[in-house]
Symmetry: C2
Subunit: 301 residues, 2 copies
Amino acid sequence: MIRRITAALAGADTTLLGPGDDAAVVAAADGRVVASTDMLVENRHFRRDWSTANDIGHKAAARSLADIAAMGAVPTALLVGFAAPGTLALDWVDGLVAGLREECGEVGAAVVGGDVTAADTITLAVTALGDLQGRDPVTLGGARVGDVVAVAGRLGWSAGGLAVLGRGFRSPVQVVTAHRRPEPPYAEGPRAAQLGATAMTDVSDGLIADLGHIAEASGVRLELRGEAIEVPAKLAEVGAALNVDPLVWVLTGGDDYALAATFPRGTDLPEQWRVIGAVIDGEGVRVDGRRWPVGGHEHYR
Amino acid sequence: MIRRITAALAGADTTLLGPGDDAAVVAAADGRVVASTDMLVENRHFRRDWSTANDIGHKAAARSLADIAAMGAVPTALLVGFAAPGTLALDWVDGLVAGLREECGEVGAAVVGGDVTAADTITLAVTALGDLQGRDPVTLGGARVGDVVAVAGRLGWSAGGLAVLGRGFRSPVQVVTAHRRPEPPYAEGPRAAQLGATAMTDVSDGLIADLGHIAEASGVRLELRGEAIEVPAKLAEVGAALNVDPLVWVLTGGDDYALAATFPRGTDLPEQWRVIGAVIDGEGVRVDGRRWPVGGHEHYR
């Protein structure tokens, strides 16, 4: 299986030694390397009846590549640990590998190594590497009082798609596809760093939760303006059909891998970035001055 | 749990940004980074009734760190994906993390990041990073006819310990400990590279199998001299007690993470390296001219 997988992979410009040896060698011209690992477990992070193998490969790669972008870095490489039952169809594995390779290709990265082992449950461990290109990493802890809070990329779409699938539907295709195959705004990570972003993260657990990590690490409060937080018409439509407030998806839905960052006030932000609030004294995250959801626990602060 | 784990970790000199952010940042002064991932699944790669959490942490780290050493590189960092049932005792996790940290400490590396998720089976995904310090990586494919074959580190000890544990015994302690906590000769990896090693690997699957990877990648045959392959007295003793030929452990036992390499003939090797054979024309691995075990299948060549 390792030979089969290796044969299906292609290197990137930064791949100095690809799969097949004891370890890979990846260029790190900057003299530093950014690295992040994510685990995905079947029926917790993905379902084979809701997503194709190709979708799951794309999403598994996206999840880790977005972490690299959220540091302001450009992804260079992926290493993939793969545990699965011996009965798993080889063409499912082919689809997974193609998805991983294709998603890497969108950012100029490559799958450079990994490991395959037997296990009762399909489990993926995806490690992404990246290049800061001479910039400082943009961490969670740099937000300053007076900064603006801005987001790039979609919010709530994956959660809307998950809700649709959970009710047994397969449409609208836009939200279902968004759940199956997120489109993180990778290029906005390095761009935000160039623009002077003071803190940044990717939205994997939900906007309020992930902004909460910035608030905590920076020792500030992030005050969001409800009117600035857009609920796209398609999500409103799906929410109406399912009798769900789509703002819940936008504020708490994960897995879209939008980028959320703070910038010094007055930064000239490109159109991809939408200002949704400001950094003030205090702690936690508030929407129009209130915890969200109203009456929520500290978990949501 | 992530906070608890992060609090138990310490950085290394190369740790520019440790756990707690979207990604870690690790020094790669060489302008390249070496990276390798291994998966470990409970009851396939370890048993909780045979090894402590601390042992399992040491071994999981060793398995990946040895891959870095086998490229001739010095390990700098580990990222650890950890999936486990929610019922797992926290002090077991503490022991695991301590083992990972301690093993990293032996080579000047550090656990810089990771991920924690729920799963039915304890699964570890360990990614190690390393620094080539300006040297070329030592790959599987560089062995040349006329080279000598040499090994550093223990062979067969872990397999002997596994055999003891499998029979329900807990002693001799030397072999059981060797199984629970391997001692890869990490420093010999970079040293072998400096000495001009032409190919190198770590012995994770067994000497014959892992040398087979060098033979295949290099397009040569590795001819071993049986008389040069030492069976330590302790393994002979255990073999006699269990009625097993200990040479089987030495030639096919994995998980000791010895280093096996080829060097140009005439290389002045330090005492840590034992010459066991030579590189000749042909393919596969032979012991005194024969496949091992005698009559073995192509799998063993």
